[in-house]
């Protein structure tokens, strides 16, 4: 069965860049969704789970760390892998979001190779 991906970022530009980089990485998803905020992402996740979420941290309304916590409360997201994508590279922040329930962390700027390196193990 094919894998599904959700990209959560308040910037449409960044969502496109992430989508393009995922494609360049060679990773294949049968279904991809986008959400412009944490709230929108939760609404979509409630109606149907995805295999992988790529999530920005700094977003209005609900930031990425809050989204991770709330997504982990959803039964439908028990198997979902959540990978944070952010320009924030401070180790203490990375440690915090990982302890909140994230499965990985990719710092911007990123490359297709970095996506392959971080996401492929999670997909397997």
């Amino acid at each position: 069965m094919g894998k599904s991906l959700m990209i959560v970022d308040d910037s449409a530009t960044m969502r496109k860049i992430i989508m393009r980089t995922v494609r360049m990485s060679g990773l294949e998803f049968d279904r991809t969704e986008e959400a412009g905020s944490g709230v929108e992402a939760l609404q979509k996740l409630e109606s149907g789970p995805v295999d992988v979420i790529l999530c920005d941290i700094n977003m209005p309304e609900m930031n990425g760390t809050e989204l991770v916590k709330k997504a982990r409360e959803l039964a439908s997201c028990s198997g979902t892998k959540i990978v944070m994508v952010s320009t924030e590279s401070a180790q203490d922040l990375i440690d915090q979001v990982m302890s909140d329930g994230a499965d990985g962390y990719i710092t911007k700027p990123f490359t297709p190779e970095k996506f392959q390196e971080k996401l492929a193990p999670l997909l397997n």
Binding site: S11, A12, T13, M14, K16, I17, M19, R20, T21, R23, M24, S25, G26, F29, D30, R31, T32, E33, E34, T87, E88, S89, A90, T107, K108, P109, F110, T111, P112
Partner: protein, 506 residues
């Protein structure tokens, strides 16, 4: 070594070099492009020194620094940098970017606000990383705002006074084959009042000795430009454009001045619609009085040919050549079928109206949408067809194969090594240039037989269903047709195969 404001000040040019270098490398790696940066000038003075480089539109990223630097400093990009970097990351056609560089208005810039902000985020991410690695007293950089406009009309918007004392470093940056542009880092002097415990590592060879006592001159003017290559290896491929796309219908997305330009979109794919539908023998199993309609809704008057079409099955399965007197595809199919004891099921099937065959969920896009947008729509909705139009008015049709034909084959992961920005640019092609038009449609009461005939005759695998007001009610794809056939009377069996075999139309 305990750092003083003077220590940091003495290293600003070197840190700026390293930070812009990191940005070039990051941008180059992210978008597989050659990005270079060369320092042109560095020193101290007032903002007047900076102003002369940024007289037109500019993007100014305001960065809140804590730690070794404390306060807000500014990262400038001139009009070229604003439009090239923003356009580059969202893959605008090269011609559009170059036009904006020369003649871009504030409205053009506003349209790229989101992209400019993302460029700023990437930039500040690179700067933050370099300072974290090379300046121990550094705590954090946070981009607080991206100003787009003429910065000196009201310099308070970029948090600089007209006579502000600053240190600055000015660079020439070049992205891929685009013309070089100007960028700068500007540090108000008040930002240099670093905490007493800030520690700066020993400067590298290019940095002057720490502890210089003349702050105004401490940021060295570069005796020789510091070339900051992005260390990207240019793929060893021909400069000849690949993809074989033709010139677009207008200059709007035309190719650039040389061969290393975005591949222009393929010309609009005009459906080959014969002026008249030739007569041929109808299906005796289908009632004569069915009012089926197949019409052209875009690009030509609503020539209702449907009633005739039902009586005029095509002469070949998939052939746009004028029909001859040979049997229709449906005649051939029926001749090849071993019809079971009850033929009414086949008759019922072929008389099924479009409204019962169609998929009501229809995905739309605007004619100004890009190929990238449509790819995402198709992926999000798991559909192979997207209708193009505005306010419910159908203007064109896009299929997965149309999209596939428009984008560069070098976008496939297997060719990633040779991928160039020009290939990415094909994702920025507007769909209005490649959509199929005119679009043939059917009415809700058009029967399946006519739908099949239309698909076979004109080669289309998707027919929108429209009502009398030309409002789209749904679409019928070849898969919907196949599904109906498979759901039909199981007594239909393919000649020569066992009765259990699933009927297959080929």
């Amino acid at each position: 070594m305990a750092a003083t404001a003077t220590d940091i000040e003495s290293r600003l040019a070197g840190l700026s070099d390293a930070s812009f270098e990191a940005f070039c490398e990051d941008l180059g790696a992210m978008f597989d492009a050659d990005v270079q940066c060369t320092r042109q000038q560095a020193g101290a003075g007032t903002v007047e020194e900076v102003r002369k480089h940024f007289k037109k539109l500019a993007a100014v990223h305001l960065v809140q620094a804590t730690g070794a630097l404390d306060g807000t400093f500014q990262l400038f990009f001139d009009q070229g940098g604003l439009f090239i970097l923003s356009g580059f990351v969202v893959m605008l056609p090269e011609k559009k970017i170059l036009d904006d560089v020369k003649r871009g208005s504030i409205d053009d810039a506003d349209n790229l606000t989101d992209a400019a902000r993302e460029v700023g985020n990437l930039l500040v991410g690179s700067w933050d990383r370099v300072f974290r690695e090379e300046c121990k007293g550094h705590e954090h950089f946070l981009k607080t705002n991206t100003f787009i406009g003429k910065p000196w009309e009201d310099s308070s918007k970029i948090e600089l006074a007209a006579d502000e004392a600053v240190h600055f470093a000015i660079y020439e940056m070049k992205v891929a084959s685009y013309p070089s542009f100007c960028c700068a880092a500007v540090f108000p002097k008040k930002v240099l009042h670093a905490p007493q415990d800030a520690v700066v590592p020993a400067p590298k060879a290019e940095a002057p000795a720490a502890g210089a006592s003349a702050p105004q001159d401490a940021m060295p003017v570069a005796a020789a430009p510091a070339v900051v290559p992005a260390s990207r290896e240019v793929p060893a491929v021909s400069d000849e454009p690949h993809g074989g796309q033709a010139k677009p219908p207008t200059a709007d997305v035309a190719t650039g001045p040389d061969s290393r330009t975005p591949v222009a979109p393929a010309p609009a794919q005009e459906a080959s619609v014969p002026a008249e539908v030739p007569e041929s023998q109808g299906l005796t199993a289908i009632p004569e009085d069915i009012q089926s309609v197949v019409e052209t809704v875009v690009g030509s008057p609503c020539a209702s040919v449907a009633a005739d079409e039902r009586k005029a099955p095509p002469s070949r399965p998939v052939n746009r050549a004028p029909a001859e007197s040979s049997p229709s595809i449906l005649d051939q199919v029926l001749a090849d079928y071993t019809v079971g004891p009850d033929t009414s099921a086949l008759t019922d099937l072929l008389n099924l109206p479009a409204r019962k065959i169609m998929t009501p969920e229809v995905i739309w896009c605007d004619p100004e949408a890009t190929v990238q947008d449509v790819i995402e729509l198709m992926q999000q909705h798991s559909t192979g067809y997207v209708l193009v139009g505005r306010d419910g008015v159908l203007e064109g049709l896009l299929s997965g194969s149309t999209i596939q034909g428009a984008i560069s084959p070098y976008l496939r992961p297997v060719f990633a090594k040779w991928r160039r920005p020009e290939d990415d640019a094909t994702l920025g092609i507007k769909v209005k240039w490649i959509m199929s038009r005119p679009v043939r449609t059917v009415k809700p009461d058009t029967v399946l037989a006519t739908v099949i005939e239309s698909m076979c005759r004109y080669g289309g695998r998707c027919l929108p269903v429209v009502d009398s007001q030309s409002q789209v009610l749904g679409i019928i794809t070849v898969f919907d047709v196949l599904l109906r056939v498979l759901e039909a009377d199981q007594s239909l069996t393919w000649k020569g195969r066992p009765p259990q075999a699933i009927p297959v139309l080929v």
